[in-house]
């Protein structure tokens, strides 16, 4: 591993001090807690997580071989799929049974493995759409322009700040569909920040992004954490994972088989076993977990 990852390791010890690298271990200040979350498709158990906590203000990586259930777990936690059993809470509030939009309003905002830019909307409209609590979003509220004009102005300002931060400000009037793959990833990340989340869930943020942009994306992710946001992300690129994660959760066959700091995971036999024979599991080759496309 590079020196860069070693400095990140040093930061890890601060953030996760005193936490045992054991499956289901309690964290000192968990923002997200899940217990007994289970989901099966027919006879296949895609996710069966006994207990998982995510520490506030950290970057937590979710890794595992193809079909381990990473994306399914993502969908379950964010209300995009329904659990068969189990419960989970975010900031102490139970999320069971809440639809995807309600989960997002609680402050847990996700992105998608296959980027979902709203292609026939401009970049700026993509951003503005995401702003929460807009008066003009209501059917009748929208008909009285004076009621939402000022709010729209304020949202526009905030959107432009975020776009500038992600270096997309020059593209604000372009259709999102004209952006490159990497720029769409940036837009999706910027857009999720428009919601004012306290936690972002990134599903393979680096997939299909060119190496130059990977560095910039990584910079953005660590910057988010340094501002106090919690980041949970799914990724395949081991260099990326070891480099920026404070904590790593390893999923295999739907269950958590290990969690810990990057150096704990690197030396964990079970993890090595889980990945053996799954060597095709390179970045970009990533076929999604079971139920991903459903």
């Amino acid at each position: 591993m590079s020196s860069e990852s070693r400095t990140a390791d040093a930061a890890v010890r601060d953030r996760m001090a005193g936490v045992e690298p054991a499956v289901g271990v309690a964290k000192p200040d968990p923002i997200l807690k899940a217990s007994g979350v289970r989901r099966s498709f027919g006879g296949l158990t895609a996710v069966d997580v006994e207990h998982l906590e995510v520490q506030r203000g950290t970057i937590t990586a979710l890794i595992g071989p193809n079909g381990a259930g990473k994306s399914t777990l993502f969908n379950l936690l964010t209300g995009f799929d329904r659990v068969d059993a189990g419960e989970w809470s975010f900031e102490g509030r139970r999320l069971n049974g809440l639809g995807g939009h309600r989960v997002a309003r609680q402050g847990m905002v996700r992105t998608f493995q296959l980027t979902k830019a709203l292609t026939r909307l401009t970049v700026l409209d993509n951003m503005l759409l995401a702003a929460p609590g807009q008066v003009g979003e209501g059917f009748f509220g929208s008909l009285v322009r004076p009621r939402w004009r000022h709010q729209e102005e304020a949202n526009r300002e905030r959107a432009m700040e975020l776009l500038a931060r992600f270096k997309l400000d020059a593209k604000k009037d372009d259709l999102a569909g004209s952006l490159s793959g990497g720029q769409r990833k940036l837009l999706e990340m910027a857009r999720s920040l428009m919601v004012n989340p306290s936690m972002v869930m990134l599903d393979e943020p680096m997939a299909g992004v060119n190496p130059a942009l990977v560095q910039s994306l990584l910079g953005h992710i660590t910057a988010l954490r340094d501002e106090g946001m919690t980041v949970l992300f799914v990724e395949h690129d081991m260099d990326v994972i070891m480099g920026i994660s404070d904590w790593i959760v390893v999923l295999a066959q739907g269950g958590v088989i290990a969690e810990g700091r990057p150096e704990d995971i690197r030396s964990n036999e079970q993890v090595v076993d889980a990945y053996l024979g799954a060597h095709h599991d390179e970045p970009g080759a990533g076929a999604p977990g079971a139920g991903e496309e459903a």
């Binding site: 964010t78 995009f80 639809g99 995807g100 939009h101 309600r102 997002a104 309003r105 905002v109 996700r110 992105t111 998608f112 979902k116 830019a117 709203l118 292609t119 026939r120 909307l121 409209d125 993509n126 503005l128 759409l129 995401a130 929460p132 807009q134 008066v135 003009g136 979003e137 209501g138 059917f139 509220g141 929208s142 008909l143 322009r145 939402w148 729209e152 259709l175 569909g177 004209s178 857009r191 999720s192 428009m194 919601v195």
Partner: protein, 325 residues
């Protein structure tokens, strides 16, 4: 009268205005929200029968009956939307086409006859409307185009309603509400992930577009003064789609231009053919074939349109092609 004048009269006449109104509703569904509604004629049917049943069966005043039309269309939209709008887009398409046709069969059924008049429909529905006609009797028109006072009154009201519908949809679509609606058309999961209740928006859009279809149906009933269920065949929906795509979907004036132009072309085609047949210039065509040829002509026009101008007359080609990856 020459072909051009007749065609022009049809293009700005009350029937064209009715189709424009229904197409504005369809544009709300398909153009902006991406909802595949293949049963717009069903909304027209319940709208027309709001007037038919209200005036014809219960003897209500026309204005109350129009309110009934709007209510029926809204209820129909809710009945269609609540079970299907949480599912994938195809389910709405299947349901709308089936429900529109089932509704026609229901309204014409023998057991429904006390209410709907069955296959005979309802007659003399529009007296209240023409009693309110402020135009003195006489002919109205310019440049050879010519309408009676009643037609002029009807056109004023129908095109007035078109104006209101356009103003309403345009101001909605230029608001944050419209932004969410267009976002849903692009990718509803993305919109959901940003905290918007996609189901509510889709339902609102379905109701709004359906009500516009219902009002179009009510105006059709008023225009003809009588209705029968078999006017509301599935073809009407497909004509509306052809008109919307011809004009350009997701544009304010697309659904205005499309119906006017298609009615112009259809009438010009019919009239030219009729005059040629009358003059024995086309011995192989019989007068009764004209209707069938008209369908072929619409098909040909659509093929030409899709090949040369897939975005419609005033659509945005750049926007159209951006999704091609």
């Amino acid at each position: 009268m020459d072909i051009l004048t007749i065609s022009l009269e049809t293009a700005i006449g009350p029937i064209a205005a009715v189709y424009v109104l229904a197409a504005v509703g369809l544009n709300m569904h398909f153009g902006y929200t991406g909802l595949l509604n293949f049963g717009q004629v069903g909304f027209m049917l319940v709208g027309a029968y709001g007037v038919g049943i209200g005036v014809g069966t219960f003897g209500l005043s026309l204005w109350v009956a129009v309110a009934l039309s709007i209510a029926c269309a809204a209820v129909m939209a809710l009945l269609l939307g609540i079970p299907t709008l949480r599912l994938r887009a195809d389910y709405l398409a299947i349901t709308t086409i089936a429900v529109a046709e089932a509704a026609r069969l229901l309204y014409r059924a023998e057991f429904a006859r006390p209410l709907t008049g069955g296959v005979y429909g309802r007659q003399s529905l529009a007296e209240g409307f023409y009693d309110a006609n402020p135009f003195p009797a006489g002919r109205y028109g310019v440049l050879g185009v010519d309408f009676s006072a009643n037609q002029a009154w009807l056109m004023l009201v129908t095109w007035g309603l078109v104006g209101v519908a356009l103003l309403l949809t345009a101001s909605l679509m230029h608001s944050p509400w419209g932004r969410v609606i267009k976002g849903i058309r692009e990718d509803e999961d993305a919109v959901r992930s940003l905290g918007k209740d996609v189901f509510v928006y889709k339902t609102q859009s379905l109701v709004l577009g359906g009500v516009l279809g219902g009002v179009a149906g009510a105006m059709l009933a008023i225009n003809q003064q009588n209705i029968t269920p078999d006017q509301f065949m599935p073809q009407v929906t497909f004509y509306l789609w052809a008109m919307l795509l011809l004009g350009g979907a997701a544009r304010t004036f697309g659904p205005v231009l499309g119906p006017m132009l298609l009615w112009f072309l259809l009438t010009a085609f019919d009239e030219s053919l009729r005059q040629l047949v009358a003059a024995d210039a086309l011995p192989f065509i019989d007068g009764s074939d004209i209707g069938a040829l008209r369908h072929a002509f619409v098909g040909l026009a659509l093929v030409v349109l899709i090949v040369y101008r897939p975005q419609g007359l005033i659509g945005d080609r750049k926007e159209m092609l951006v999704n091609v990856k």
